[in-house]
Symmetry: C2
Subunit: 787 residues, 2 copies
């Protein structure tokens, strides 16, 4: 299929892209080398990563050809995203850059602008970024390319997702785990992923592991991952081009055959898993760049990683070397007098939305359809009076999510991911509607596995997160359920996703995508069968450090409130919603209508739970956020009502934690007027919080009444023990809260000394019982609410 | 070598361990089944993980045999650490449990105590934990066993580290990456790691990937990882015992041969990498437990994961099933009338410290020697007056660390790990002393690779962290250098390590181990060639949520202070020290003597930098923490001195950030008296902080003067730009700080209106210059300090 003629065109495109990548790193002006290079043409700060650029350009060039020849819908995930100059170069060559940013035309002036803006203050980042047309992957933090690629391919049967994996990235844990994603990809309903492992041999300063193991070992590894590898190696473009073209054709023929066969057969339980092709591309780091600099080898070594010639502005020899280097691409053959790429350079480039920079899949908001969300009332639990019934909040949510799954059975644009915890987190009603994606072998005892399931379970939080990010960024919806403590495993990934969303929101051409929704459950207070390692509520603290326009944190206190939060989260766009909710039986407090209103307000007085009867000046505010703290606060309020009925206690529940922040700092933040109306300016506030108590202080420190704010929460006192022992150990229990009130309301210490003592005694009685019997006292284990 | 006779003994030991594991999950009393089981013998809450226990018991039994027969020094890392009951059972059988905890004797009373305490309030956790004799790995959060095992083996040439990897854990990213650790293990100077991949087929609720790929694919994968796999499969103990014994013998023979050959040859550059053996053990989940329960298959399925018979106390049939199950191990053959394990059960158990529960390697503090740290004066930079010279702090540290490396060349108990960033972080003087560990192939252009190097670089923060944890917990020292932003990748791992240290500190039998020291550099303010994805100072916030007795955070403002902090950190024990320091040229402020005193104080007034001349009542306090904020504060102070010479400005530098916390909350926290003496109770404090500004508020919110505290820091405004543009974008620049002072000192707004306007103008002038030229103005880029 490939002819010499076409190879010359491919080579021209590749040389043009290489030229443009070098130009971006070095040049302020004289983009076409119309005159000899002078120091003033050179940027004063040389920033960028040359080493990976020629490899990325080679891949882009050859993808262009097959996309055009085969009329493919394709997307490419550029794992070595730090080689941003290469992807920008290709976008400019294919015209998508100028269409997205009309001030950077596809001509000499535009080329000057393209060069100047790169890694330049007020310009564009040095990495592939949201600003880069065609991108869904930043690549600055390595490890997530392949999981992103699979996420993009799920439920996009017509899509080819190429994924360039650098051999540095291949050493990371998340990438190493992601290879097994092929056990979860359904050739009938999903698209294809074509991994291209680019072995250029070096990381920043070291050889890479995969480039330095014997070839037979590498081959075994990749076959062990379930792939059929195709190898392309070399440093002579005249040989590499046909080899790469041949490998691309063989890979795509194979993908087509797998898909044709699978789709003809339909979804066959127990069918053999397809062995997908992949490409191993072995070319020198910094290929076509300076072979040596100042007597040191550069091309083909780690020295080519960033800027091979570093002293260009000061060192005339380096300047000359740069000019020779750039002229070695023969720009005069590649660009016309106006700086436009000539037709032979553009010959391999596909048209319109087939261009990688114009792929609608890379601007997933354009493909996004709102979810057909069911009316909440049908899925809510009836609540005749607060605390008269118990439900497992996540089980109620599971039924609702199953309905969302049912309603999207045809559209296939909703998935639930989790690290082997969907059933443990009590979301297993989902299996009434769909199975767990699984292409491995099956056994008779297996349950709920299916080749086309839309619940995704692999014991890797990294892979779950990467899949979901890729799925959302290409225009779909989803939810990630995980044990609360282990959300920290993806701290870094969610930080990068928040950064992506923050930047993307500022780009008018990027359409909003569905939010990334976390359900954190099996939380710190109810790790009954595990222990200290499973107790960590700090993920909330981590995300609240990030961009407030993106981050939302919800702590629904009961099942209906959880439903209302989920409904809100699944409608939202361009956000990260963290929802913390329990899976254990929990009192129902609010009917669905009130729950919805409470979520809309984000925080509010629960008059029925307090004794201030709507008075504007209670004696004390008992505040709570989270299911277990709410339970303890309501119990404390009941104790106060019983023993100190004349005390005006206001109960405030906070479901949207960012409401506590100043209005100026977070879009959900309360004004001071709103805050003061809830919490007063001078009354003691005893706040029972689900997580680390100082988080509440850091959110509320500017409030007038802050000096009166006393917060109880998890203070890292954990182990394998009973639920009530956990709250006692951390001073979050009802008795301690009553003591806190007595200690803080002026004049109460004397009037309520006996009650205080009895609260102390209660704590000891519980402690002793728990140690003796191994269980909680029935009165807290099977408590019935007195309202 | 194995005989039928011995197999009977091995089986007896295995049955005894299985019996004890079941007993721990279920029984309060009647440990020897001296009478028929009654409901009151059963725990009211059934907690624990049976599924993995028989496999762990099998491995422990067979390790016992080879350790004893071959007189090995061994350690085992139990990846499925949630199967804590199994490891406790073995410890009790070998006697180490009773030696460690004399109240749990090796008799019937002790067995009752062993059973009762498990997962019981006030008892022991359900996981392998610091409380477990012989443990260095908790295993609650999956993924780190193999990296821990390698860390333990490095520089322990006489040690065999067996490592059981569950097939659930094998799906995680960190574990998947850790397989390549064998490219970094030197058979001459390091011990051996024997991975035992235990395929019991299921996770919590799903089949595992590795148990459901074709055998040929699995074999290819493991060979691709560089191992020679030995397979043991089956469910008939009579067949599995000899197979396992044979595989153990073959593996250990092979290890011995590799070591003998390598050690005879010595360190040979370019020698071929050894292909180490490993064992694949395929046995049913919940093996020997109930085959079915209530009509559902259990043994060999995910239903065996936790507690196979759940209703024992209420359901007489389940109670009977439990009794039959326990009696199936024939306890009467295993324990004598006093409940002591009989001699045939103990026959395979090694003696003394060879017992896995008594291995000194698992209580590494016992092996720990203090580092031969050099006198700081020889490695410090001379500082005649503050700000007259520039040094790269991490480069100065690198020279000091090289000296530590030199002084430990014979002892080999110090390593530096990092994800391919040691040179990028300017620590490359280390290579004058040692190389980078590397057993892969080498090329002529390679530099500083060596088979016995003690700098460890792999592009996986997870593996780096796991290696170092394993190295430290087995009695050695080390430092982890990484880009600040990417420390978040190991958020979860460091959280678990802090939990480990917190618990271990409470155990008198555990000797203190060396602290885990982080050097976070290439920090948020100086990501010149990368951008937004590389800008995140939040790791400090994460660790400061954790146990204050373990966590320390230092922000040294210059090279000598960094040296003093490093010296302190390398002497400390049982802590996690996070050191944030720059690698770019930075003014030297303090001579080494003052630096040391400043670190000892943790925070102090820099009189020479202020204009309050030691007065007790300055007009304003300019506080700073971190190298870039310190620079900006000193510049702001110089501007104020120049323009408002009559204003009494006090400059306070904070190097030990926990000093800001209340004395009661953190051992390094200041008393209110100390705090007030530095910061005053009522004067405005303008605090320039390295990271997220609200961290300072959350640490200092209880202080009297908190309402006057105004903090500047990183507020998530990042991109690829110049260093000064970064501080301007985040309002941390000198001009903004001067404006903050003017805005906050009462009465100053009027008197200094002109200065305020000129500060505004300066910001605009810088902004415009940076956008036009792509560089900082020379006056901030090459600033010379006016003192």
């Amino acid at each position: 299929m490939t002819t010499t003629y076409r190879i010359a065109e491919l080579d021209a495109h590749w040389r043009a892209a290489n030229y443009l990548a070098v130009g971006q790193i070095y040049l302020l002006d004289n983009p076409l080398l119309a005159e000899p290079l002078r120091p003033e043409h050179i940027k004063p700060r040389l920033l960028g990563h040359w080493g990976t650029a020629p490899g990325l350009n080679l891949v882009h060039t050859h993808l262009n050809r097959v996309i055009k020849e085969r009329s493919l819908e394709a997307l490419c995930v550029w794992g070595p995203g730090h080689g941003g100059a290469a992807v920008l170069a290709n976008s400019w060559l294919e015209g998508t850059y100028s269409e997205t940013y009309p001030d950077i035309g596809r001509d000499a002036d535009g080329m000057r602008g393209l060069f100047r803006q790169f890694s330049f203050p007020g310009g564009v980042p040095s990495h592939v970024a949201p600003e880069t047309p065609g991108s869904v992957h930043e690549g600055g933090e390595l490890g997530y390319s392949l999981a992103h690629a699979y996420g993009a391919a799920f439920d996009h049967p017509g899509l080819l997702v190429a994924c360039v994996i650098g051999d540095g990235e291949a050493e990371t844990g998340p990438l190493a785990a992601s290879w097994h994603s092929n056990k979860f990809l359904d050739p009938v309903h999903d698209g294809a992923v074509l991994p291209i492992l680019h072995l250029n041999g070096y990381k920043i300063a070291n050889p890479t592991v995969l480039s330095r193991i014997p070839e037979a070992e590498l081959d075994a590894l990749l076959r062990g991952y379930g792939h059929e590898p195709l190898y392309v190696s070399g440093s002579d473009p005249a040989l590499v081009h046909p080899a790469m073209a041949g490998a691309m054709d063989r890979a795509l023929d194979r993908i087509q055959a797998i898909q044709r066969e699978a789709r003809a057969a339909g979804t066959v339980p127990g069918a053999e898993r397809a062995l997908w092709p992949m490409i191993v591309l072995r070319t020198p780091k910094g290929w076509t760049g300076p072979a040596t600099v100042d007597g040191q080898p550069v091309e083909g070594t780690w020295r080519a990683h960033q800027v091979p010639l570093a002293g260009v502005r000061e060192n005339p020899e380096h300047l000359g070397r740069l000019e020779n280097w750039m002229r070695s691409y023969r720009p005069e053959e590649l660009f016309d007098a106006e700086g436009r790429p000539v037709s032979s350079v553009r010959a391999c480039v596909p048209e319109g939305e087939r261009r990688l920079g114009a792929s609608p899949y890379a601007n997933g908001g354009r493909l996004l359809r709102s979810l057909p969300l069911p009316a909440l009332d049908a899925w809510a639990v009836p609540v005749e009076k607060p605390g008269s019934t118990l439900h497992e909040p996540t089980r109620v949510l599971g039924r609702y999510l199953a309905q969302v799954m049912r309603a999207t059975a045809g559209r296939r644009d909703f998935r639930v991911v989790g690290p082997d915890e969907t059933a443990s987190n009590h979301l297993d009603d989902l299996y009434d509607v769909t199975g767990k994606a699984w292409q491995g072998t099956t056994q008779l005892t297996d349950q709920n596995l299916s080749r086309d399931g839309r619940v995704m379970e692999i014991l890797s939080e990294h892979v779950c997160q990467g899949w979901l990010e890729g799925y959302l960024l290409t225009g779909r919806h989803g939810l990630f359920s995980t044990y609360e403590a282990f959300a920290h495993i993806v701290d870094s990934m969610v930080g990068q996703h928040i950064k992506w969303l923050k930047s993307a929101r500022e780009l008018s051409w990027r359409a909003p995508v569905a939010s990334l929704n976390y359900l954190l459950t099996s939380h710190v207070w109810r790790q009954d069968s595990n222990g200290f390692s499973h107790q960590d509520p700090g993920f909330v603290d981590h995300v609240l450090n990030k961009s407030p326009e993106v981050v939302r944190v919800y702590l629904p206190p009961d099942a209906n409130t959880l439903l209302a939060v989920a409904d809100h989260a699944l409608r939202s766009r361009d956000q990260v919603n963290v929802i913390v909710a329990g899976k254990q039986p929990c009192f129902d407090w609010l009917p669905i209508g009130e729950a919805r209103a409470h979520v809309a307000r984000g925080a509010g007085v629960w008059e029925w739970a307090g004794t201030d009867h709507g008075s504007r000046e209670p004696d004390v505010v008992l505040a709570c956020a989270g299911d277990v703290p709410t339970m303890e606060v309501l119990a404390a309020s009941a104790l106060l009502r019983e023993h100190l009925p004349w005390l005006a206690v206001r109960v405030v529940n906070v479901v949207d934690i960012a409401r506590l922040m100043p209005h100026e700092e977070h879009p959900h933040g309360m004004t001071d007027t709103e805050y003061n109306a809830l919490f007063t300016t001078d009354k003691p506030v005893v706040f029972a919080y689900h997580g680390y108590p100082w988080l509440i202080h850091r959110l509320a420190y500017r409030r007038t009444g802050h000096a009166q704010l006393h917060v109880r929460g998890y203070k890292e006192s954990g182990t394998t023990t009973t639920p009530f022992d956990m709250v006692v150990r951390n001073d979050l229990d009802r008795y301690r809260l009553v003591m806190d009130v007595i200690d803080r309301v002026p004049g109460l210490a004397d009037r309520a000394a006996a009650l205080r003592q009895s609260m102390c005694d209660e704590r000891i009685r519980h402690h002793d019982w728990i140690r003796a019997h191994g269980t909680d006292l029935p009165e807290v284990a099977d408590w019935s609410w007195p309202y």
